[in-house]
Amino acid sequence: MAVIETKSLTYTYPGAAKPSISDVSMKVEKGEFVLITGPSGCGKTTLCRTFNGLIPQFYQGELKGEITVADLDAAKHPTYEMAKHVGLVFQNPENQLFALSVEKDVAFGLENLGFDRQEMRKRVDWALNLAGIYDLRERSPHEMSGGQQQRVAIASVLAMQPEIIVLDEPTSFLDPLSAQKIFEVIHDFNKKLGLTVVLVEHRLDLTAKYADHIIIMDQGTIRFDGATREVLSKEETRLIGVGIPKATLLYEMLKKEGVNLNSVTPLSSEELAKMLKEAMKF
């Protein structure tokens, strides 16, 4: 069951000379963890914003083609409608938090939707716990680290209990340790709650291992779309400028030297280490 489907989607920002995305057709199945990556300017950020209707409603401009998210036409339904089904987490943690306390921020979406206080309280506590920030609920956003702030943003999206959560480079501003924690949280609710995750990221070293499905974009179009291991072992992917995980690169390098590890392409250091250990057990 496809929760996101686009058919020949093309979008041009108002006043732009050429489209930011051209003829993009892709599908995301329910419960999948999808990675979207590609060099800067490839259109991945633009694509994300079509999923909840920010494009074209907030940004105006010209949108052609079809886009269906959670069985709704994302271009026609108002963003506040779409928000119930697809949550968006952005790059800069600071600019997603408005309230003076964490739990009020997490409740923001629910308040907008007119939930009653009891139900809100339940959902807010649930979301705070999922994101691992229950103890921080009365703190003010300014006194928190970037990683904590981003977890508040994630909690506030989770609280609305959408079927899909889209994250646009959520760890750009974070150090590797905080980034890792965020990815673990995301992987967690994908596995435990069956939430469909669409993650736009450059840090494939940390994220490729979680994704079933990867989409590589370049200059506004989709170049590769398929199983993570397959796509990342292609030479062409590397040539586009995608940061292939080091484990995968090393594996390919060894393969070229004739080393046959009798296994699938590794996506993480753990996988490669395991494969190498197996190979040495002769």
């Binding site: 300017g41 590797p176 890792q180 190979a279 040495m280 002769f282």
Partner: protein, 275 residues
């Protein structure tokens, strides 16, 4: 040459950000200052161009004490590129942006012209000379900010978190650019938490924690030291992770370069398969 002698620094709010830091950076060195958020890295480097003055201890740039001179005069030798280029960009054209510092430093108009052309060329921005910096993409704006600092040819270059928001190719370009700058005899100091980037450059690494320097040495040794990892929340570089998880005693623990890893693994596999 940068000399930091037992520097203590407290902010007005009372927070003590530096608790006795001593460091010498020689001319032409490439140093990466790493550590958690709040460890004091940016506070430290802001002392190098006098933006901050120590509450105790001394900082010297080429034998001039930073407390005895202005930020503007220190800036002539110490170029500081901030993390967010949008905190610097304000001109109508890229050309004017690059000219800004040159005018502040009192260069003659012909010299300014030449330096602008040189800087644009160096950063691949020649076609944007008359473009408004606000019309450029994020990566291009970063290059404009870099060009506007390099324009006056400072001997020491400080880059604060230069890899944030950059894709793989952009980081590779940056790495090569830093190597180029270093080969020209410039001293480069970067503040970063990007372990993979540092692993690829393998510079001298100064690791900070809670206002103090806890380690200072070669990148490959510091980034693979398990005791240091615990203490300063840096992550093992991917290549080192593979080697650590392999648990083969005969393999060195401080491998961070992919080519070195390949050679070592090939040798190991060939040996094992011969037995």
């Amino acid at each position: 040459m940068l000399t930091v002698e037992d520097v203590h620094f407290s902010y007005q709010s009372g927070v003590e950000a530096l608790k006795g830091v001593s460091l010498i950076v020689k001319n032409g060195e490439f140093v990466a200052i790493m550590g958690q958020n709040g460890a004091g890295k940016t506070t430290l480097v802001k002392h190098f161009n006098g933006l901050l003055k120590p509450t105790r201890g001394k900082v010297r740039v080429d034998d001039v004490e930073t407390t005895k001179t202005s930020v503007a005069s220190l800036a002539r030798n110490v170029g500081f590129v901030f993390q967010n280029p949008d905190h610097q960009l304000f001109s109508e054209t890229v050309e004017e942006e690059i000219a800004f510092a040159l005018k502040n430093f009192g260069y003659a108009p012909e010299v300014i012209e030449n330096r602008i052309t040189w800087a644009l060329n160096l950063l691949g921005l020649t076609q944007y000379r008359k473009t408004s910096p606000f019309m450029l993409s994020g990566g291009e704006r970063k290059r404009v900010a870099l060009a506007s600092v390099l324009a006056w040819d400072p001997k020491i270059l400080i880059l604060d978190e230069p890899t944030i928001g950059q894709d793989h190719q952009q980081k590779e370009n940056l790495r090569q650019f830093i190597m180029q700058m270093q080969s020209q005899g410039r001293t480069i100091v970067i503040v970063t938490h990007d372990v993979e980037f540092v692993a690829e450059c393998n510079p001298r690494v100064v690791l900070m924690r809670e206002g103090k320097i806890v380690a200072d040495g070669e990148g490959k040794d510091i980034l693979t030291d398990p005791a240091l990892l615990e203490v300063s929340s840096i992550v093992l570089p991917q290549i080192a992770q593979i080697f650590t998880q392999l648990q083969v005693p005969s393999l060195p623990k401080n491998v961070i370069d992919i080519y070195e890893a390949k050679t070592l693994l090939l040798r190991l596999l060939q040996r094992r398969q011969r037995l």
